[in-house]
């Protein structure tokens, strides 16, 4: 898949997978950690209890599985695309996390925070429109 079109297709496909699996994993982890409660370590004996609580949660494992798929897609796309291209291109994840937090977790999100998420997305969109590869002779 050496043609520019093929390269673009597989880049977008893998970034789409990142955008789906990343936020889903984050939301699952959040839901799992909220069930465990606030992390407070007052004595060394608290650590095993915390690890046990974390890693016996099905929700946490689903989150880890989702983030693992995210990471595989991330590794593959970084084998040909610039880090500074992939990082901003996957920015839609911020909006999706906020949306999932609102819809799935019932989190209250003020208009200012929505505006913040929007500005972040615009910023990373601009970054994503700079040349995708600046270190080699090939281009994405």
């Amino acid at each position: 898949m050496r043609s520019p079109l093929g390269l673009r297709f597989k880049t977008h496909l893998l970034i789409s997978l990142m955008i789906v699996f990343g936020p889903v994993g984050d939301v699952l982890l959040s839901k799992g950690m909220k069930r465990i409660g606030a992390v407070t370590i007052r004595a060394p004996a608290d650590l095993p209890r915390l690890f046990l609580g974390t890693f016996t949660s099905g929700m946490i494992w689903l989150g880890i599985g989702s983030l693992l798929l995210f990471f595989i897609a991330y590794m593959l796309v970084l084998s040909w695309a610039d880090y500074s291209y992939v990082q901003p291109a996957s920015s839609a994840a911020y909006g999706i996390v906020a949306l999932l937090g609102y819809l799935v977790l019932g989190e209250a999100i003020t208009p200012v925070r929505w505006a913040g998420v929007l500005v972040i997305c615009v910023g990373v969109y601009i970054v994503g429109h700079t040349p995708p590869r600046t270190t080699g002779s090939d281009s994405c």
Binding site: M33, S79, I109, V122, G123, T130
Partner: protein, 125 residues
């Protein structure tokens, strides 16, 4: 508040440094062109033999546990946008560690990201 600041620092600095190391490792593997499952497993196996990958995974693990801690303290819709500060760390790291050419346009985008992060903090209520 101090512990939250420390957790955010770990998420941003360790997480971004880890990603930069993983990028360097994957660049040494070369472009992946075969997406059949066994080929992907082979690529992952090759990547795991590159020292940069293990350094990256180690740093990302630190960032991951800091993220878990923050998710137990704050809402996901606050925690995740705040980690957008890693774009600044990533841009600097890409320039210094990976030799990428960062244009003014790219920095303008990074500045907007910082503004967005500030708005997210202000909007915490």
């Amino acid at each position: 508040m101090l512990s939250e600041l420390v957790f955010y620092c770990f998420i941003i600095v360790a997480g971004t440094a880890g990603e930069l190391c993983v990028t360097r490792a994957m660049k040494t593997i070369g472009e992946v062109t075969d997406f059949r499952p066994h080929a992907i497993v082979r690529v992952i196996g090759s990547a795991m033999r590159v020292p940069w990958m293990w350094i990256g995974i180690g740093l990302m693990t630190v960032g991951f546990f800091a993220l878990l801690a923050m998710l137990s303290l704050e809402n996901v819709s606050l925690v995740i946008p705040v980690t957008a500060l890693s774009y600044v760390a990533g841009t600097l790291g890409g320039e210094m560690f990976l030799g990428e050419q960062v244009t003014r346009q790219r920095w303008a985008g990074v500045a907007l990201v910082c503004l967005g992060v500030t708005l997210v903090f202000i909007g915490k209520g």
